[in-house]
Amino acid sequence: MSPPLENDAIREEAGLLARVGAGDREAFRQLYSRWGAPLFSLAVRMVVDRGEAEELLQDAFVKIWRNAPAYDPRKSRPFTWAFTIVRRTCIDHLRRRRHRPVLTPLAAGAGTADSLATGESVRGAAEARDDADRLQRALADIPPGQRRALELALFSELTHDEISRHLEQPVGTVKSWIRRGLLDLRATLNEPAR
């Protein structure tokens, strides 16, 4: 069950997305201010090149504007819906350039001071650093197979069939790892700070 504050945020975003679907440019700007950074970070993680990631972010937000009228809140949270659009945009791009993404190890870059965007406040940087540290600890608690399957499913263009070949595991095992990996990550992140 999602905590109440999270539910409020989801409701707010669903309301904004409904307004975007009706052509409300101000609501679109508000969603961009919420999602711009995490979705740009996702694009950078997937395609590595910042310039390409910027172009793909733009493409994705144009799609968000166009497809907002078709968003169905019964099927997904607004952020998941937007994540899917960005991910598909990145995957289309990666397939076009016929280049496998760089599959960096989980620990690489996460939470280091120089990976934080310049211009953030000291407080914001500290919070981001704390989040990243928390994530690192959470990921460390997930068994390696689950962690690898989860990261490949999230950030590469591989399908779960391809992940199963890549990891030399049955498809059923990979499906289970992906689901368990997400749940374990969620459970660990919800634990009180150690």
């Binding site: 069950m1 711009g36 504007w65 019964r74 099927k75 990976s115 928390r134 992906i178």
Partner: protein, 282 residues
């Protein structure tokens, strides 16, 4: 007890299901509150994972660029279709003078549809030969520097007509030796106008349209030149124009290709369909 749908929930959230599996899952999701709760839980984990990535702020002007594109799309609602000269390639030679006269009328008609009177400065025309697997590039110097945009257009159109009428006069660099679909694009980078001649293109599939695209190979920027109004015939000679490059001036070789796009899909400023003519760049 865990169901196959529970097992698929993680794949659904991570967009790892194919279209059929996704549709089945969503149909179930609408009526299964336990499954919906499971999905919400996984979505929360996904959101946390994404927000915990090393955060990069998008460049300051990114939102303005997006809004500018949205404004541009609205303004371009009446996107131009490529206009066709009613001449099948193979029959032109037999038509002789009559065909030349029709072509002349076509040029005048297209001239009236053109925009902008300014005389462009580029001293060359771009020529790209196309076949089903590749494209070849050549530059054609203008015989004389026209004083007006109309004069330059007449030169462009006359060359297009000549090559259409006498394919044997095409520059050797752009002639394909391969069997099957082929053609050429003749483009004026100064006016962003051009002609494309196509031969032996198979009929588009049900609900599909052929789209012509232009790509700047250095920047990768793609501009759509329009929809080829092919119906029963397998080709023709077409006039097209593309939006100006704007501040982002052409920086590399220009190339052209034709894709078969799904006519029922939402409009896109990027090619999605299979490349049927020219270099496969997508």
């Amino acid at each position: 007890m865990k169901t196959p749908f529970d097992e698929a929930a993680g794949l659904y959230v991570l967009d790892q299901l194919d279209a059929r599996e996704r549709a089945e899952f969503e149909a179930r999701l609408l009526h299964d509150s336990a499954l919906a709760a499971r999905v919400r839980e996984l979505e929360s984990a996904l959101a946390e994972r994404i927000r915990a990535l090393p955060q990069h702020q998008p460049p300051a002007g990114a939102l303005a660029c997006i809004e500018s594109r949205l404004d541009g799309e609205r303004a371009a609602g009446d996107r131009a279709k490529v206009r066709q000269f009613p001449l099948p390639w193979a029959s032109v030679a037999r038509w002789g003078l009559a065909a030349v006269a029709v072509l002349g009328i076509g040029i005048i008609a297209v001239q009236e549809l053109r925009r902008g009177p300014a005389a462009p400065a580029h001293p060359v025309l771009i020529m790209v030969g196309l076949d089903s697997g590749r494209s070849t590039f050549a530059e054609l110097p203008l015989n004389e520097q026209p004083q007006s945009a109309d004069g330059r257009f007449i030169q462009l159109a006359s060359l297009a007509a000549r090559f259409w009428e006498k394919p044997g006069e095409l520059p050797a660099a752009v002639v394909s030796g391969r069997p099957g679909s082929r053609g050429y694009a003749l483009f004026d980078p100064g006016s962003n106008e051009g002609f494309i001649g196509i031969q032996q293109l198979p009929s588009a599939g049900q609900g599909q349209h052929y789209h012509l695209w232009m790509v700047d190979t250095a920047s990768g920027r793609i501009r759509e030149a329009g929809i080829l109004p092919l119906k029963d015939g397998d080709g023709g000679l077409y006039f097209f124009s593309v939006p100006p490059a704007g501040a982002e001036a052409t920086s590399g070789r220009l190339d052209f290709f034709v894709t078969a796009e799904d006519g029922t899909a939402p409009e896109s400023d990027r090619p999605k369909g299979k490349v049927v003519l020219g270099d496969n760049r997508i």
